[in-house]
């Protein structure tokens, strides 16, 4: 089938010599490249791929490990924080309790002292009253005997006055 009239180009004309040369050349190139190029190249590329994959895997593992460690440390930190807060709380509570205890103790002490003082005062008052009473009776007896110029037996008068005073006291109360 001549494609171009006027020329002699026949695209579908098969030249057997060319076929033979092509097959020979291709087989030679295939053999040589197979042995000296493709084998080592494929081996090298596969080795590199394997290495890359391993590196990726190991980096993934490392990352995972690091993340785990980080999480662990974070946990620890968290728990330490919680512990510290707890300790502080405890201290605060203790201090509070101590304060309350000391306060109550002090208040109790104060109360006791006050009571004792009151009692002392009471006693002193009673004593003073007693003494005042005695002195008053004596004074009255002296005065009375001076007024009556008569020596009344002091015991008799005393009795009367004490009685009167008792009555007075009762009426007062």
């Amino acid at each position: 089938m001549p494609l171009l009239s006027g020329g002699s180009l026949n695209l579908l004309h098969v030249n057997p010599g060319l076929v033979i040369w092509t097959v020979v050349t291709f087989v030679v190139v295939l053999t040589v490249l197979w042995r000296f190029a493709w084998k080592p190249i494929i081996k090298g590329l596969d080795a590199r791929n394997l290495r890359v994959e391993e590196d990726l895997q190991s980096s993934r593992d490392l990352r995972e490990e690091a993340e785990k460690l980080l999480a662990e440390y974070e946990n620890r930190l968290e728990s330490a924080k919680a512990e510290a807060i707890e300790l502080i709380d405890e201290g605060k509570k203790d201090a509070e309790a101590n304060r309350a205890r000391i306060l109550t103790e002090a208040q109790e002490e104060v109360g006791k002292i006050k009571e004792r003082t009151e009692k002392d005062i009471e006693r002193a008052k009673l004593k003073a009253l007693d003494e005042l009473e005695k002195t008053t009776v004596n004074l009255a007896v002296e005065l009375l005997s001076k007024i009556m110029k008569k020596d009344v037996s002091s015991s008799e008068h005393k009795e009367i006055i004490v009685k009167e005073l008792e009555a007075l006291k009762k009426s007062k109360v």
């Binding site: 050349t25 190029a37 080592p40 590329l45």
Partner: protein, 292 residues
């Protein structure tokens, strides 16, 4: 003497034939078969030489230390190699592909380099023509019809633009496909050519069709590559031919722009066709490996 081209003396067909037609460079005949070293054989050898020159040093480097960062060029080649292995071989054959990797790689780069160096014009011819035009080179006073050695050194033809070459490559693919079929399925491959689940009577019709199909697949491979590698060259030559045909300077920029565009397309097609050839071969091999 500067040859003067006139529209009468210029024949675009002759030019195209001159550039696309194979021609013996060294005559050789063994056992009655014409085994002349033709332009295409020469270009095929140059391409093969380049392949060895490119890949053997890369292999040396990579086997010395596979973990070293590859150079820019070998890195690019590795991308191609990985592409053929993963996206062509493994994608179609799965884990069986590794036995076919060297074949697929050789096929791909063999076609690719042939396509690519076919895009470089015949350097010897260009040099001699320019030399003669400028008077710097005197035409060798060789025997009449003798092709100058410089021209022989780089005939500048696309070896994959010849049906002989593409048919030979497709034939090799055919063999590999059939060998893969028998290697994976044994003798049952002959029977299993017919897809599974075909009822008995249909089988009688289907089997010859499928057997015929085994031959049409590589035939299509051969024709596809041939047509693609020829058409672009032809268009470029026709565009350039316009200049001489019309004898007008106004045609020059149009022709140059158009042929540059086609040249760029050809560059792409060179890669595309090498890929398609190998990809389809891998698919056919995968198809022969397992019953459908």
């Amino acid at each position: 003497m500067v040859p003067v081209l006139t529209s009468e003396s210029f024949n675009v067909v002759e030019v195209i034939v001159h550039h696309l037609q194979d021609m013996p460079l060294w005559r050789l005949e063994i056992g009655g078969i014409d085994l002349s070293i033709t332009k295409r054989v020469m270009m095929m050898w140059i391409g093969s030489f380049f392949l060895l020159l490119i890949f053997i040093p890369i292999a040396r480097r990579i086997s010395k230390d596979p973990y070293k960062k590859p150079s820019r060029f070998s890195g690019m080649m590795e991308v191609f190699i990985n592409f053929i292995r993963k996206d062509v071989g493994e994608a179609s054959m799965g884990h069986y592909s590794k036995h076919y990797d060297p074949f697929l790689l050789t096929l791909f780069f063999f076609i690719l380099i042939a396509n690519l160096i076919g895009l470089i014009p015949p350097l010897g011819e260009v040099f001699l023509t320019f030399g003669e035009l400028t008077g710097l080179v005197h035409h060798e006073a060789g025997a009449a019809g003798e092709i100058p050695f410089l021209v022989k050194l780089w005939p500048g033809i696309t070896s994959t633009g010849d049906v002989g070459v593409t048919a030979a490559l497709a034939g090799i693919s055919f063999l590999v496909i059939q060998i893969a079929g028998f290697a994976h399925q044994g003798i049952a491959y002959i029977k299993n050519i017919v897809p599974n689940g075909i009822p008995g009577p249909m089988w009688i019709i289907m089997w010859p069709i499928e057997v015929f199909g085994q031959f049409t697949k590589p035939f299509a491979l051969a024709i596809r590559l041939l047509a693609n590698m020829t058409a672009g060259h032809m268009i470029i030559l026709v565009f350039m031919g316009f200049i001489f045909q019309f004898q007008s300077y106004f045609v020059v920029p149009v022709s140059i722009l158009a042929s540059t565009a086609i040249y760029m397309l050809e560059l792409f097609v060179a890669f595309l066709q090498a890929y398609i050839f190998v990809f389809l071969t891998a698919l056919f091999v995968a198809g022969a490996q397992h019953r459908h």
